[in-house]
């Protein structure tokens, strides 16, 4: 769209916009610093974000002859006779492990297992609050992928599912693949699947909104890390033509003749396979070359608003779709992308329309697989979650500023959970087969219970109220 290419007379406007953007960035850094100080203060005050709470009445110590020995031996014998009963007679069905080696935590890099613990606690809180899932943070001190796989395999008997978290790419791919293959419970890596599924959900609606069919769509993925490698796989599962898909990394378009492809075969066979499979027509060169005539740009790369230039967007097909998902700063500011011709823009942030956020996916996916006591979580299930999420946004009316439900629309999540559970039944991997309405009702109850629980604990002063900022008190919570 030549008419959208910025011309020199607009240079002043561009400079002003950049100054504005810089000021906004400085303000956001200030805010982040303040939030950080407050988070440390609260972490010190509460000393942890989750605890175990009994879920049975205890009238006196006598009850322990049922909850514990001697009565409990009969429960153990029942499970010994049939290990599947562990999903019915214990909390296993609703308990997952959040496992990390701390090798790629947030934007902090390899900070080690202890430093990863507060992040995993936060994730566990999200799992409980949004999904009603009992999640146990388990940062482990291991380095090799084999050691992670072995450790998780040994932990599995206690859990109904495993959530891998903040494990570096590319080792995360092999670890997920191996564990999904070996364990009789769902294994999920949120940095791959959560982000990819949320992206696919947004994309489904963006395609509908711009009258595109996925088969005919030409898509460029910018960044070839955990999220986009998984997004590429899900796109192909959705019916995207591999020839019309191109990945772009720091070295340009990923293609089979690139000189680093042999190294990829050894170090990152997942990316290697995509190098062989994608990019029909043999495009080479940089992002600009890849984007020529492309309908969709899905960026999960560098948090720098100049990563994608307006000229890049202008090279795309008419009315293109641009997802700039880097956090905390998108690869291009949404207004810049729209000015350059983008019809639909999404980011990872809540302060712009169309937030693509893995929290839209993972609590509901786990609610669904746990309620069905599922044995695994194949890509069809992930796509079922994405489709259901997309459908709810569509039901409320799609627009360029309404592609996905927001995080506040929590009433949507039980539907996503039920769709996931239904998909496990259809796939024959559900241990507990219920009707759609039963799954929906169960999910609603369990997802709603956590908020009530947290409120009840605060109301009864069992959870200390939030202290005022900069409070001098060092008092520990009860």
């Amino acid at each position: 769209m030549a008419e959208s290419v910025p011309v020199p007379v607009e240079a002043g406007r561009e400079a002003r916009r950049r100054t504005r953007a810089n000021r906004a960035a400085a303000r956001r850094e200030d805010e982040t610093d303040q939030l950080g100080r407050r988070a440390v203060e609260l972490a010190r005050f509460y000393a942890g974000k989750i605890e175990t709470v009994p879920k049975v009445p205890v009238r006196s110590l006598h009850d322990f002859s049922l909850w514990y020995t001697p009565g409990i031996a009969a429960v153990s014998r029942t499970i010994e006779a049939d290990a599947e009963e562990s999903f019915n007679l214990t909390g296993r069905w609703n308990t997952i492990a959040i496992v990390t080696d701390g090798s790629r935590v947030l934007g902090l890099g390899d900070i080690g297992p202890e430093a990863a613990l507060p992040v995993m606690e936060g994730k566990a809180l999200l799992f409980k609050w949004l999904g009603g899932v009992d999640a146990v943070p388990i940062p482990i001190r291991v380095s090799s992928p084999d050691a992670i796989i072995e450790t998780v395999e040994r932990l599995a008997p206690a859990f109904g599912g495993i959530n891998l978290e903040d494990i570096a790419s590319p080792k995360c791919f092999g670890i997920l693949e191996q564990l999904q293959h070996r364990l009789p419970i769902p294994v999920w890596h949120d940095d791959q699947l959560g982000t990819a599924a949320a992206t696919i959900a947004g994309l489904i609606n963006a395609l509908t909104l711009t009258n595109r069919a996925v088969r005919e769509t030409r898509t460029v993925l910018l960044g070839a890390g955990a999220a986009n490698i998984a997004t590429a796989r899900l796109l192909l599962a959705l019916g995207h033509d591999p020839h019309k898909l191109s990945l772009v990394d720091q070295k340009g378009v990923l293609h089979a003749e690139r000189t680093d492809v042999d190294e990829l075969m050894l170090r990152n066979p997942w990316k290697y396979r995509l190098a062989l499979k994608t990019n029909g027509g043999g495009r080479t060169g940089d992002l600009a070359a890849a984007l020529e005539g492309a309908d969709v740009l899905l960026a999960a790369s560098t948090p720098d608003p100049n990563t994608i230039r307006p000229e890049h967007v202008a090279r795309m097909a008419k009315g293109p779709i641009v997802f700039a998902l880097a956090n905390p700063v998108p690869e291009i500011w949404p207004d810049v992308a729209r000015d350059a011709g983008a019809a639909v823009v999404a980011t990872g942030r809540s302060d712009f329309p169309n937030q693509v956020n893995n929290s839209l996916i993972f609590p509901a996916v786990f609610r669904g697989v746990l309620d069905a006591r599922a044995r695994s979580i194949p890509d069809e299930i992930v796509l079922a979650a994405a489709r259901e999420l997309a459908r709810h946004a569509e039901d409320r009316g799609l627009s360029t500023t309404h592609l996905l439900p927001t995080m506040e629309e929590t009433e949507v999540f039980p539907y996503v959970a039920a769709a996931v559970a239904d998909a496990t039944v259809a796939k024959g991997i559900a241990r507990l087969r219920l009707t759609h309405d039963e799954y929906l009702e169960g999910a609603r109850t369990r997802m709603g219970r956590s908020a009530r629980l947290v409120r009840a604990l605060v109301r009864s002063h069992l959870t200390a109220p939030m202290p005022r900022p900069h409070s001098p008190t060092r008092r520990r919570s009860p």
Binding site: V261, M265, Y272, R273, L276, K277
Partner: protein, 179 residues
């Protein structure tokens, strides 16, 4: 060493998917040298990934050119060029290089040693490695070899698996340290 093996079997067909072998092998000619040099260098750079003692020298390109020229005329060597098929006919997309060595003390008395196999990534899979191995073994046998040996970096597990699947086993080992 080989780059024809794969870390894991393909799950979905690639763009060159076809039930037939997408290459054909023929003896290399002097005119192929320019096309073979970058392929040989790609292989040596891949080997570099396995051990610092396999660091590629700055003059590797001229070395490659000289060695390939000499090999083409050497009666005690087998150098086969892999050509594409269909639209890629006449394009050299890989090669295999093997040499005959006398075995002074052991029987059989002549061994054929595969020293280099390289195939551009797009032409791998589809049983191509198998086909190359069969062809080069036949050529070595025709020149008198009674045993076929594959040489590759010890850490190349893809090659280890590829050859192990086809009945190869380790017979001698080469261990190194820097002086």
């Amino acid at each position: 060493m080989t780059a024809a093996g794969e870390p894991t079997p393909p799950t979905t067909p690639g763009p060159t998917d076809s039930t037939s072998i997408p290459i054909h092998l023929r003896p290399a000619r002097a005119a192929d040298v320019s096309a073979l040099v970058p392929l040989l260098l790609r292989l040596k750079r891949l080997n570099e990934e396995f051990d610092p003692l396999l660091r590629v020298r700055d003059d590797a390109e001229s070395q490659a050119r000289e060695i390939l020229k000499a090999t083409i005329n050497d009666p005690k060597a087998v150098l086969l060029a892999a050509e594409g098929v269909g639209p890629d006919k006449d394009k050299v997309v890989g090669f295999v290089n093997a040499v005959l060595r006398e075995r002074a003390f052991y029987a059989p008395p002549v061994e054929g040693v595969i020293v280099d196999i390289y195939l551009l990534p797009l032409y791998r899979r589809h049983g191509v490695g198998e086909y190359i191995l069969k062809e080069v073994s036949a050529a070595l046998k025709a020149k008198g070899a009674g045993v076929v040996i594959a040489e590759f970096p010890a850490q190349n597990e893809i090659a280890v698996r590829f050859y192990a699947k086809r009945g190869f086993r380790p017979i001698t080992a080469r261990h190194a340290r820097l002086l």
